[in-house]
């Protein structure tokens, strides 16, 4: 049977959006994201909540290989959002990635154009660990001085990818890192380094 969506679509969607908005506006901060969704595995409740809050027929989703394996996942997302499941990553407004260690190269996703950099993808990664007291050093808009952030698991060359993504500003993709019960974000405007 199809898993249910939001109990209260209006206020739950608003709560998820505000958490994502605050995370993007203040990179390096971790925002609480409470949801009682129970979507089909390996779609996590946090990925499902973000998709239900932001995707619709105007904002296609792309699913990574892990999510595509279980046909109940695209069925769940199609039913509750009305969004098209994009066959290729470059067509997606939001990419849901359940296996972040195997995250495709950012170049596979829409980067926007010089005159319209907003026509670019947002990647939502289901990480298991998220901490704001160690790891990368962040600076840029939204950050008072500097901030720290780390997430796991991620590809070994992730920092290099983030650096190239930031260097292409204003084009590029934006990242949401969603762990159980909380999320952080790395917009393209954030400079991420190892510090030192």
């Amino acid at each position: 049977m199809l898993a249910r969506g939001f109990h209260d679509p209006v206020h739950e969607a608003q709560g998820v959006f505000r958490a994502v908005m605050d995370a993007l506006a203040r990179p390096g901060t971790i925002q609480a994201l409470a949801t009682d969704l129970a979507p089909p595995a390996p779609l996590t409740p946090e990925l499902a909540a973000i998709a239900l809050a932001l995707a619709d027929s105007d904002a296609p989703l792309w699913l990574d290989a892990a999510l595509g394996e279980n046909t109940a996942v695209p069925d769940f997302l199609r039913f509750h959002t009305g969004a098209r499941i994009a066959a290729v990553p470059s067509e997606a407004a939001f990419a849901l990635i359940a296996d972040p260690a195997a995250c495709p190269d950012f170049g596979a996703f829409a980067q926007g154009m010089p005159a319209y950099p907003d026509r670019s993808a947002t990647l939502v990664l289901a990480v298991s660990g998220l901490a704001d007291d160690e790891g990368w050093h962040l600076d840029g808009p939204g950050i008072k001085g500097s901030a720290r952030l780390t997430a796991a698991p991620l590809p070994a060359d992730f920092l290099g990818r983030l650096g190239r993504n930031h260097a292409a500003f204003p084009q590029g993709i934006d990242l949401i890192l969603a762990a159980p019960g909380r999320l952080a974000a790395l917009p393209r405007s954030t400079r991420v380094t190892t510090g030192g």
Partner: protein, 293 residues
């Protein structure tokens, strides 16, 4: 739709807009935050108020507003002018949210052309109503061209405009909608706020969102972002100064409005930010004309 979803007794969805419209605006807001100062096109809706009354700001506010938000609306610094009263009543009715005139208590502040005098804090969002979002529009009327100028970060036109001010007037005569550069990249129209307020946008702890309803654009300045007013080394940016304090509360270093008192040329200058003035008077500060209220 359950009773808890709809705004009670109005027949409208929570905060008036339908959920599909809110999602569309929310996606635009997220991209606007990720690209500070860049104008994101959005499918602006007809609102139950005329263009020019804040339809862009109202749509942004409706998209971000939650049941626990506390809303403040100001028009030229004032909580009690028609535009502010109408928009506050609109959201009190359609979203049933708490409203306030106190800057410190508000979580969402919608503004038409002022930034409150009281410092903003991290928990707040400042929503600007914007008439003309494109800072280059009066220099280059074609949207296709201004898009290219922004893409190339080619802002020479704007510097020529400011230079022509100096050539004609001896100083930069632009006093409102004074162009700013956001995070070292995009030049942005701060909406027609007096340039007096420009320094408050720089490194502001609150998130600043801008909505232009007729022109269908949303843009943003994240918290703690560098907002630099354009100027020249030999003509640095300066804000206007007032040679007297507020006549009601005695405040100095605030933006003042001129109020005519009679037909004989009598006038006084009072705080444009009515909440700031009322709080100061409640604290016992007195100006020269305080007896009039």
């Amino acid at each position: 739709m359950s009773a808890a979803v709809a705004a009670p007794g109005t027949g409208y969805n929570f905060a008036y807009l339908d959920e599909g419209t809110k999602r569309m605006i929310r996606r635009a807001i997220l991209k606007a935050i990720a690209i500070p100062g860049y104008q994101v096109p959005f499918a602006s809706r007809e609102m139950p108020m005329p263009y020019g009354w804040g339809t862009g700001g109202v749509q942004v506010t409706a998209a971000i507003l939650g049941a626990n938000d506390v809303l403040k609306v100001i028009d030229q610094g004032s909580d009690d002018t028609t535009n502010a009263v109408s928009i506050r009543a609109f959201f009190a009715r359609t979203a049933n949210v708490a409203v306030t005139t106190r800057t410190r208590e508000a979580t969402v502040i919608q503004t038409r052309h002022r930034i409150p005098e009281a410092p903003l804090h991290e928990g707040q969002v400042l929503v600007y109503q914007v008439p003309i979002p494109e800072p280059l529009r009066f220099l280059e009327p074609r949207e296709t061209e201004t898009r290219q100028l922004h893409a190339l970060a080619e802002y020479g036109l704007m510097h020529v405009k400011l230079y022509e001010d100096i050539a004609r007037h001896g100083h930069i005569a632009t006093t409102y909608a004074y162009p700013v550069e956001v995070a070292g990249r995009y030049v942005m129209d701060p909406s027609p706020t007096p340039k007096f307020d420009n320094p408050k946008m720089d490194d502001c702890p609150a998130l600043q969102l801008f909505g232009a309803g007729r022109e269908k654009r949303i843009y943003a300045v994240p918290p703690y972002t560098r907002v630099r007013s354009l100027d020249f080394e030999d003509h640095p940016f300066r804000v206007q100064r007032f040679d007297r304090p507020c006549a009601l509360c005695g405040a100095e270093g605030v933006y003042l409005d001129e109020v005519l008192l009679d037909d004989a040329g009598g006038r006084m200058f009072v705080c444009s930010d009515t909440d700031h003035c009322e709080e100061r008077r409640a604290d016992g500060h007195v100006g020269t004309e305080a007896a009039r209220v």
